[in-house]
Symmetry: C2
Subunit: 773 residues, 2 copies
């Protein structure tokens, strides 16, 4: 062994009380093995700057931390044992920072006066020089220093609930009642009836009508989505049934209809006295609903609309509430008046009587087995020249008068149609917010299980908790951070939606966030399932059901891939304007302008960095994402411009650059999410909540940048050294947040009854669980 | 518009027959919009090198391809119409290369002599300069040039089946029989009985005993895994039941037992006359099976073993065949003889009588609902001091003699245990091979659907096929390429396993490939499900069931995360040897040696390149993966070495570097997969199969490198320009392979009856499907 006589005396210094505040730091420095020589040097340098620190102590520290002469294994073991002797002190210490732990030990154990200001300042200086050195590292020490959160999870829970805390708490209580307990597996017929009963219970509480205009409801869109976000912790068939009945069906009547429709139907829709359908999707047209083929032909003689399914691919498909319960349907059909096709409009068509008999001219087929959501009665509907009165047209945006003349304030058929479906943006927001809740449920289960389950260890008697394994932390922590990020992105979206739901910018934001959140949900559930091993595969632990049900969130209310293209089109509209108004010369000038931008931004000082403070800062992280978004937007616009100028048709030009469009759109959504997270943290008044969330934000920001590090390097924007620093800092944050993770998932405040999973309930105290296993 | 008088005459050149072979190339060059000015220049340069090409033709080509003066939209449209007029010729042309299409058009349509050697050489030169220019690009042209494969899928199918074609075809025929048709959804009791009946039918065909030693079976391990790989296209509960009964239960008796056990049980195991369990996993120990807690205490007085479950967490859990059908179990328990714990051994314990009564002292509980595989009767088993004769010990590796003395040829308990379970490597290989089949099933469905389903388009009448969208191609093609890669990796693994199943190197390879293949399977199924939209979510289309069932493939037969660590440990053993033997000086020398390596490899000419031929070449791709593996291995070894030399205990040291270990292991598996793919392509005799597969290999190689482009750049190994070239070439290959994809999935040769999914069957001719929709 490479031994140094100078270090032989180190063991003696363990009894020197003056060194005591620094011992955890010394141990952390060597035991993680991740500090560089420069960083170890940095520790001594920082301490040396504080002349108030005892000189002998400085010398001892320098011996312990000599990068050329690391302590021997025996010395390190002695130090570890020494620290283990103070485990009581450590356990009572809320922080996991080596500096804080050192101060606590010194305060509690040494006979001399209290920890001096100079010592505190020196330790603070160390941490600000090399970043916080957590004692929660995957060493036996972490078992001793059982992770203790630095914040109060109930305070953070209140922060997360925000202005909708009342309705959210009401929902939690409601769903925790025995009535909503999960049954043993049911056949699909029984399951559908149970879901209907559950939905009625919610309607009885007035929840169905929350968003309808007064006097039919509480006119509170924000509250509805907030309630929906809690409902999403429960059975997702119930969630979907709720969304179809109160959101889509009732919502379409509220928004596309006028007073007579409201008077006649809204109360019954909100109370579930009138179960209904939102019949938009056709077998041949799921995403491209502008080109639906069902027709509603105005017959001036009888003053009726004739609703018809021209061929099999134009049948309505996957319609919720159709197979069993629906009585009235909002049917989206091409309105043809006097031989003119005015595009797709909503028409009310009865499909079943109260006693369940299918209406004449209507044919319904059960969609039968699905990959999930089997508590929802999806079906297919054919209309064979079904006649309804002219007034069945939902006529808020367009009408046929009693002379049989069609009129609309929006003359362009396409624009009219997109205005109509634009008012249904609430559905996308709701599914996105629900996706965030699904991720919360899954991660709550997986994080708690990781704090209970042991596997492998140095000996059979000392198996480690799963949460102590770096690969396990890496699997769960970035996903936990992303879940918080999406939470805040949706809180802000819900607020803006509640304030003004006609804002067209909201549509693209909702589209992008819905796509990201739903992909995140299934990814988080899958990671959680795998992290719980075979236990995660048992139905009783709910993860597989969540996974199966939420799968279709990536498709319904807009296929994610299509939504991403929608975001891209939104981005391009800015550029289109620029190109159109400026012509070719303008475009050239624009290109030159862009080239000079590139020169300015090429200055590496403004971006490549290995400074830890900078890497975790909101401003640096936002700067990177902003740069990427701008670069990709512009390059996308230029690619399209190039094609258009060569006469490539717009549809084709856009299709050719589709993968670039997807990248640009995804970069945009990444930026929106981080921006909202940063803004949300700024607004938090509680200091400790803000601190921990800022750390979570820092992880999410680094994880986002890390995902595209190849691109950042390829475009010369970040250096290899910065990439290395990002990976390292990312992994540190993962380890730190692992220590807070139990309290972080507690802040989601999911009642045990609603979470359901035996392996994920909170009620068992962790220590008991460990003892039982 | 930026018009050039010189180009005004271009339209005239369309009638000039001399230019005809080059027309598709010209159209492709402008219409995709992706060729750079340099590349367009390169086309002219290449042609100019061939003096045999008519000079007027060269001039016309130069006009058409002047980057400064692109053709006008009108001219391009004229060209397109001209090409469309020759669509018959094009359709009959198997290749999608613009050069080949041009030759075919010229041969078929021009009045002058056949295409000259100079023209052919010029076109070949163009393609070798700028890479093949496919005419299958997402332009209206691609609808005209309906993708036509360049190879015969039945020939490729034979290549894929390889030496096991006979058993595979037999399985295909067997499973296509009406008896194996998929039923409507069943309750779990009925489902389990159906699966048992199916398994019996397979046993009746002698398939259960394929791998057992003669005279009990055919002694053909390779054939068994090959049969299993076809069975994996069918119901995965049946697959699992088959694996549990014939592979795990019977296999354990065959491998861990001796002649008396074989005589007594193997025939009945292979015929399913004796349903049995492989009782290894316990609730408290799933991955760390070395520390199982069930005991088998030798009682010298009665000459019996007493099998006992000491506490609840030591109950056997998730045991297939336990809840309903199993009669005999191979129970893994700590063998205690004369107060000495000899570690875990297999003991035969009856758990049920023939009439289904649970044996005395045995308690069984149903695992009940699972996320999938509900046709398998998993259960929990407790043993309360159950007595079995001493001869119930499976005594191939260790025995207790009639004097009650324990002996084994492998004195070390750990090594003995790992040797015992090492012989069960067949299970991992089987699950991995089955995972590849699951990915094949899913992608077959999604690729066929993408060639049938239309959505969006320039007008409602001209909606595009999904396969024409670049984002859709990007979603499916790299996964299709990976599926071929894993296919060949497993074919080679199966061969080596069939030759010699005791090779310890096989274990790490099987572990790594099983982990990768099972993760790939669920990823491919999920991507396929999303690519089929709502149709993919219908149970009848099988994707969601596959997804739910295959989910647990990532956990059973070894949790993937744990398996990856196993691979890493395998990698390290080389280095450990080096360190141990060389001591500190040796390590220093090793380090110096490594530094000089780095200097050599820093020469950018050997790695960074933008040359297309090089990027797609097997040697360049393998070189990159080899470099990464070597670098990560060494860095991992050094990290561990550093910790060990500081006295960090081995378990802890390894845990601290766990994420690095995972990266190194994954890089290793990536390399193994590509290496096997390259080797397999080399061995193929059929030229067209080899060509298309080499293209698929090129895509898989680039996709693998692309996934880690951040790392390659961070370590200064690949330049930003190379990264750009890789992305570009990757996307080109994706588009080219999309044109071959229908034939590629046909080569998987999954019978329609077995595939099941109405949206994915082959029987409907594509053109008919398009017409019906």
């Amino acid at each position: 062994m490479n031994r140094n006589p100078a270090t032989a005396a180190l063991a003696e210094s363990l009894t020197d009380e003056r060194l005591r505040p620094f011992l955890p730091l010394i141990y952390a420095a060597w035991s993680t093995g991740e500090l560089t020589s420069d960083e170890i040097d940095g520790i001594c340098g920082a301490v040396a700057r504080h002349s108030g620190v005892d000189v002998d102590c400085q010398v001892a520290l320098r011996h312990w931390l000599d990068p050329e002469q690391p302590p021997s294994p025996q010395e390190l073991e002695l130090l570890r044992l020494q620290l283990e002797g103070w485990s009581d002190v450590v356990a009572s210490q809320p922080s996991s920072s080596a500096a804080d732990v050192g101060i606590a030990i010194a305060e509690a154990t040494r006979s001399m006066a209290a920890v001096t200001e100079a010592e505190r300042a020196a330790l603070a200086d160390v941490e600000s020089t090399i970043g916080p050195v957590p004692v929660v590292s995957p060493v036996p020490l972490r078992e001793m220093f059982l992770p203790t959160a630095t914040f109060d999870s109930s305070v953070l829970a209140a922060v997360l609930d925000g202005r909708h805390s009342e309705i959210r708490n009401r929902m939690r209580k409601l769903l925790a009642q025995p009535e909503f307990a999960y049954p043993d597996p049911l056949g699909s017929a029984e399951y559908r009836e149970l879901v209907l009963r559950w939905a009625r219970s919610l309607a009885d509480e007035g929840l169905g009508a929350l968003a309808y205009p007064s006097p039919y409801g509480a006119d509170d869109r924000g509250a509805l989505v907030a309630a929906f976000s809690i409902l999403a912790h429960h059975d997702l068939s119930l969630l979907t049934k709720f969304g179809v009945q109160f959101g889509l069906f009732g919502g379409a009547i509220a928004r596309l209809g006028t007073a007579p429709h409201h008077d006649r139907y809204l109360k019954a829709a909100g109370s579930l006295a009138l179960p209904g359908c939102f019949a938009m999707t056709e077998t041949g047209h799921g995403s491209n609903v502008r080109d639906l083929e069902t027709t509603a032909l105005y017959d001036p003689i009888s003053d009726e609309l004739i609703v018809d399914t021209p061929h099999d691919l134009a049948r309505k498909d996957y319609i919720g509430n159709a197979a069993a319960h629906g009585q009235l349907a909002v049917v989206f059909a091409r309105l043809v008046v006097d031989d003119t096709d005015h595009g797709v409009h909503g028409v009310l068509v009865p499909i079943r009587s109260k006693d369940g008999a299918v209406a004449p001219g209507v044919r319904i087929e059960d969609n039968a087995g699905k990959g999930g959501l089997n508590g929802v009665d999806n079906g297919r509907i054919w209309f064979d020249h079904v006649r309804v009165p002219r007034t069945a047209l939902l006529n808020h945006f367009a009408d046929i008068d009693d002379q049989g003349v069609y009129s609309s304030d929006i003359p362009d058929a396409d624009r009219r149609f997109f205005t109509m479906i634009g008012t249904l943006v609430g559905g996308r927001i709701s599914v996105g917010a629900a996706s965030v809740s699904v991720a919360k449920s899954a991660l709550t289960i997986a994080v708690r299980y990781a704090h209970r389950r042991r596997q492998f260890g140095p000996t059979p008697q000392t198996e480690s908790l799963l949460i102590g394994y770096p690969t396990h932390q890496r699997r769960l922590m970035p996903r936990l951070a992303a879940t918080f990020a999406y939470h805040f992105a949706f809180e802000s979206l819900i607020d803006d939606f509640a304030d003004d739901d006609s804002d067209r910018l909201l549509e693209a934001r909702a589209a992008g966030l819905k796509a990201f959140a739903s992909w995140h949900a299934i990814d988080a559930v899958q990671a959680s399932r795998e992290a719980c091993g075979g236990q995660g595969f048992l139905t009783e632990n709910r993860l597989t059901t969540m996974r199966a049900d939420a799968d279709i969130f990536t498709t319904y209310e807009g296929d994610n891939t299509v939504l991403i293209q929608l975001v891209a089109k939104g981005l391009l509209s800015d550029f289109r304007h620029q190109f159109e108004s400026a012509g070719v010369t303008g475009a050239m000038r624009y290109l030159l302008h862009r080239a000079s931008d590139a020169v300015i931004e090429a200055n590496p000082m403004t971006r490549s960095t290995t400074d830890t403070d900078q890497l975790v800062s909101a401003s640096w992280q936002l700067g990177q994402l902003r740069w990427r978004e701008k670069h990709q937007d512009e390059s996308l616009a230029l690619r399209i411009k190039k094609r258009l100028s060569r006469g490539v048709a717009p549809f084709l030009a856009f299709t050719q650059v589709q993968t670039h469009a997807a990248s640009a759109a995804e970069s945009h959504v990444d930026l929106v999410v981080l921006r909202e997270f940063v803004a949300a943290v700024k607004k938090i008044e509680d200091r400790t909540s803000a601190e921990v969330l800022d750390k979570v934000r820092a992880l999410h920001g680094l994880a986002t940048i890390r995902r595209d590090l190849a691109w950042f390097q390829e475009h010369g924007h970040l250096s290899g050294a910065t990439a290395t620093a990002i990976r390292k800092q990312h992994d540190r944050l993962v380890s730190e947040i692992a220590g807070e993770s139990l309290a972080l998932v507690d802040s989601f405040a999911i009642p045990d009854e609603v979470l359901g999973a035996p392996i994920g309930i909170k009620a068992i105290a962790i220590k008991d669980a460990v003892a039982t296993e």
